[in-house]
Amino acid sequence: MDDEDAYCAKFKLTCEQREAVRQRNVLAMIAAGGNVYYLAKLAGIFGLNVQDLGAQQTGKSVAEFKQMMLDQAKGI
């Protein structure tokens, strides 16, 4: 991770993929061919857990995203 450009170049990321990674933009990573089962490992790389990912993708704050999930427990 010391040289992110070199690391991404090693795996032949396209310009679109490289830009999505540069921006840490999960929706763009998926649009560029990413699969969330693998992108979920951003947790170990950047400390972005799946609540952070969910909040970013849905345009919510992390607190709002967590509340939205809690709300789905009502009535079970």
């Binding site: 929706l27 699969n35 089962y37 170990g44 990912l53 969910g54 999930m69 789905q72």
Partner: protein, 285 residues
Amino acid sequence: MAKVIGGVFTSHVPAIGGAIAKGLQDDPYWKPFFDGLKPVHEWLKHNKPDYVVTFSNDHGLNFFLDKMPTFAFGAAAQYDNADEGWGLPIFNSVPGSPDFSWHIINTLVEEEFDIVTCQEMLIDHALSIPLELSWPDLKSYDFKLVPLGINTVQHPLPSPKRALALGRAVHKAIQSWDADAKVLIFGTGGLSHQLDGERAGFMNPDYDKFCLDNLPSNPDALTQHSALDIVELSGSQGIEILNWIAARGAMGDPVKEASRSYHIPISNTAAATVLMTTEHALAPA
């Protein structure tokens, strides 16, 4: 003839591994989920399997997107975990049984399931977490593992109907294994959840209830939906129910539900633990 004694079905959210590592089982967030394992622990005190046959999906530890088998069957003498990038400790290794694996593989191919065979296979959190949840105090496992991986990760995915048929073929193979052995089935993953896209955070308690209500007595009901229907109903990762459907098929019939727990949310997931038992279980659950 080997006999299936029961089936353990549980979610495999990576964060559960973090909670185990940190000893958070009684933390208010985690307790409702971990309490669902207590009936499993009690039952396992009386029912010690010789073999554990598992159905789960790999998350990139064995198979990357460049090579993705629909059904991959382990035939190794030992299965090790390795760093998956979550920051979790490495889980215990589990001994395998090449003889039993090859017996099932040969039966499946005779039954026209053209599976991938893996004489080396790593096991990831989708197996290690359910094993740790079921036997939290064991430092080494005294059963032999027979793991089957199902692609629930990269489309196209197998149909629920095909997953159930595969499980039933595994059951046939277990029944024809000439050994006085007890077999426990595991199905892992789910239930409803979606990690990706604008619908991230989606869960569906109604569909999950439909699955939990029907899986023991009428698993064919779950095959009325296609894999893509289930993605719509249960979320893009809720399709991990394919592992449960195949595992249920491997149990044979009849089975009874011995315990059920369902809790929202664990991480981004509707988490569940179910124990089903057969007539060959040694003690009442």
